[in-house]
Symmetry: C2
Subunit: 427 residues, 2 copies
């Protein structure tokens, strides 16, 4: 049985208890959220990990880091290094988005080394296999889709992003309504190309019931992908995006009815003032399913710094109710990310998640701020550094610039405001 099926039968599982404890919520409350489809625990029955987590309403905002080979960079070793960095710096989940080299071996390594849930986008492997088979990545059929999904589920993948909402109907809406950037989701573009090539409905949509059977058998959580997400702030919240979202909402209902845990992927490039609306629409159309946002990026102009545009959008989205933030690295739009890009991406999204938790879960979240500010007031550098979101960087900065007075920093030196006020009180 899946965690959702247990919850539907009012059974609280050991996994729910463990995750609820980590969240500081009652297991009954978590079970209730899972039953309502407002929270998920992405964990395959075949995957053993140290740090499972729940994603959803009333829970702390989670951060996902993407890793994976590309057709240009296909070293498994380098990707496992990135996995370790992502976990070290605090990612709650990982996605293996590999499309280059040996995908099965890569995934095996990822599943083995990861202490946190692992997701994939199965259409990548399906397309790569088709290409390897007949030099055309579109030469696959429904059977190939189900085969790869089954294999990946058996292997232990915790969540699948499937682009089931890119359908004949949503693509017709896209075609009728001009857009600056078209389809910018890699999986979405593959499906759109497949539909055009085969003149058939998307197998991730037409075979949805069979996909649910696979997901249910291994308790793979479905992440319904937003293949038509806006790739420019000019395209945000347009008709194609909303048409797809409504389809995802219907599919989410079907998934829950079959006992399959489900979350919804969200945009994308979205101007700051449309983010709250995007969250509200997702919650409305998808029955309150957890919302997994890719950014949102609040402007298109910041290539090289999209971890920052993502942090701005993610903080706003999560404070408005988004549950899961997919990181974006500084490499977005420019290159395959390096290990240091991964670190920067994870930290930026964790900042966004925590800033949002200060709104959503103020009482528990603010303890961290209270502790670090107390250490700062005491000018207890060791403690302040240990409590920083990235103690390695804080320490490196501190050591790089030594003050003459050991209890201040080189920014203000002896005119440190905190020191002045302390001296002032002493007099």
């Amino acid at each position: 049985m899946t965690q959702l099926e247990f919850a539907q039968r009012n059974i609280i599982t050991p996994l729910m208890v463990k995750v609820a404890q980590a969240e500081g919520v009652k297991p009954q409350e978590l079970a209730r959220l899972i039953r309502l489809g407002q929270a998920v625990i992405p964990l395959n029955i075949n995957h053993k990990i140290k740090k499972p987590c729940a994603v959803g309403k009333g829970l702390s905002t989670k951060v996902n880091a993407n890793i994976g080979t590309s057709t240009d960079e296909s070293q498994i070793k380098g990707e496992i290094q990135k996995l370790k960095i992502a976990i070290k710096y605090g990612a709650d989940a990982l996605m293996d988005l590999s499309v280059g080299g040996n995908l099965i071996r890569m995934r095996k390594e990822v599943l083995k080394h990861s202490s946190i849930p692992v997701g994939t986008v199965p259409v990548y492997e399906i397309a790569v296999r088709a290409y390897n088979r007949c030099r055309n990545f579109l030469k696959f059929d429904a059977q190939d889709v189900l085969e790869v999904l089954t294999e990946q589920a058996k292997q232990g993948v915790d969540f699948f992003t499937i682009h089931s909402g890119v359908t004949l109907r949503s693509l017709a809406v896209l075609n009728r309504n001009q857009r600056l950037m078209g389809v910018v989701s890699r999986g979405g573009a593959m499906i759109a190309s497949w539909i055009k090539y085969h003149r058939q409905e998307n197998p991730f949509y037409s075979q949805f019931d069979r996909i649910l059977e696979i997901a249910r058998a291994y308790d793979v959580t479905l992440s319904l992908g937003d293949g038509l997400r806006p790739g420019s702030v000019l395209d945000a919240t347009d008709k194609a995006q909303i048409a797809e979202l409504k389809i995802l909402g219907n599919l989410a209902r079907r998934a829950r009815n079959q006992g399959v845990q489900v979350m919804i992927e969200g945009p994308g490039h979205v101007p700051l003032d449309q983010i709250e609306t995007n969250v509200a629409l997702e919650k409305k159309y998808c029955g309150g399913a957890p919302f997994y946002v890719l950014g949102p990026l609040v402007t298109d102009v910041a290539a090289g710094y999209d971890h920052i545009t993502c942090a701005i959008g993610g903080a706003i989205a999560a404070s408005a109710g988004a549950d899961f933030l997919c990181y974006v690295t500084p490499a977005e739009h420019l290159r395959h990310p390096s290990a240091s890009d991964v670190r920067e991406g994870v930290i930026a999204s964790r900042i966004a998640a925590h800033a949002a938790d200060l709104v959503k879960r103020k009482k528990s979240a603010i303890l961290w701020d209270k502790k670090i500010s107390t250490a700062r007031r005491q000018r207890n550098w060791k403690k302040q550094i240990a409590l920083s979101i990235d103690p390695d960087k804080a320490k490196e900065y501190r050591l790089s610039s030594k003050p003459k007075l050991s209890n201040v920093c080189t920014m203000c030196g002896k005119y440190c405001s905190i020191k002045l006020m302390e001296d002032c009180k002493k007099k």
Copy 2:
């Protein structure tokens, strides 16, 4: 006459025309905003610069970069290097916050090399002079205050941050209402210490009329400092902060009545959901004066990454009506910033400013996003890089990772969604 006095007499100056053109607004409209005190042009009559700017309602959001020596790091050369970097990467204004070494020479160099408006916090020089004179930075009187203000105004400083709102009354409110972090403004702490030491009212408050005379004579814009700003999200929007803000509102009215341009400094460490309220309160209490925010930082935990907490808060503040963002660098809370910290700080705040302008000035601001996304769709890498917020970084990233196919990037390689959709259309 000051720009405000001209505006009060319905005279449109050549400076107003120049600045209005750069903003894409009508000179009459800018003059109206200045007359109402809702916009300022910080430019000393003794300072010639290439890129003056206006700050205020309906105008693009501006970014300020702080530079300056500290008691630990007092090399003028290094600071001038930072000035150049700040200007190169797009700061609209600079503040020289020096407290170490030869302050007069430093300021002279800054004024000479800067093509953008320059601000200072005069109490720093006043305190440093007192210290040099008698080994006690608090041994200064009202006459010393006016002397330094006059000298700096003559020298050509475009705007002064003065902490006139740290008064016997606002400090009494602070003392009555417990706070985690106390006073975290360097200038605010100096004034608070002075008040306690001398048991007299803050000279920046008691001598406000004489300060206005100096500012008026050189058209120095006053930036009324928030000496009691919160230094922790736990202290945000507390009674001391609001008590000071109300005092600043009264002083702003007095300044405008004397023809002196004025803006208001704002917090500080503020949780995401209190930012909009902070902007609304400033506009309400200060008659719509331009709001110059220091962040706001949306959490206390991100030492080493406070350019990101600042970008999140700044984007939200500016989209809600804040007009001027003071950058924060990754070095905040840890060390005197390096040149690379300055660059990162400027870019992060410019991202926030532009994300906010997409809300406040959508029509004009979105053209940039349209251009870069068009280049991205065309996979015109040269153009995309040139249009990026930091072309140097975008170029460096692009060159560091070369794809096999020249018209994609190494993230998706041949599975580039944009390329797939293009191929799809061709078929």
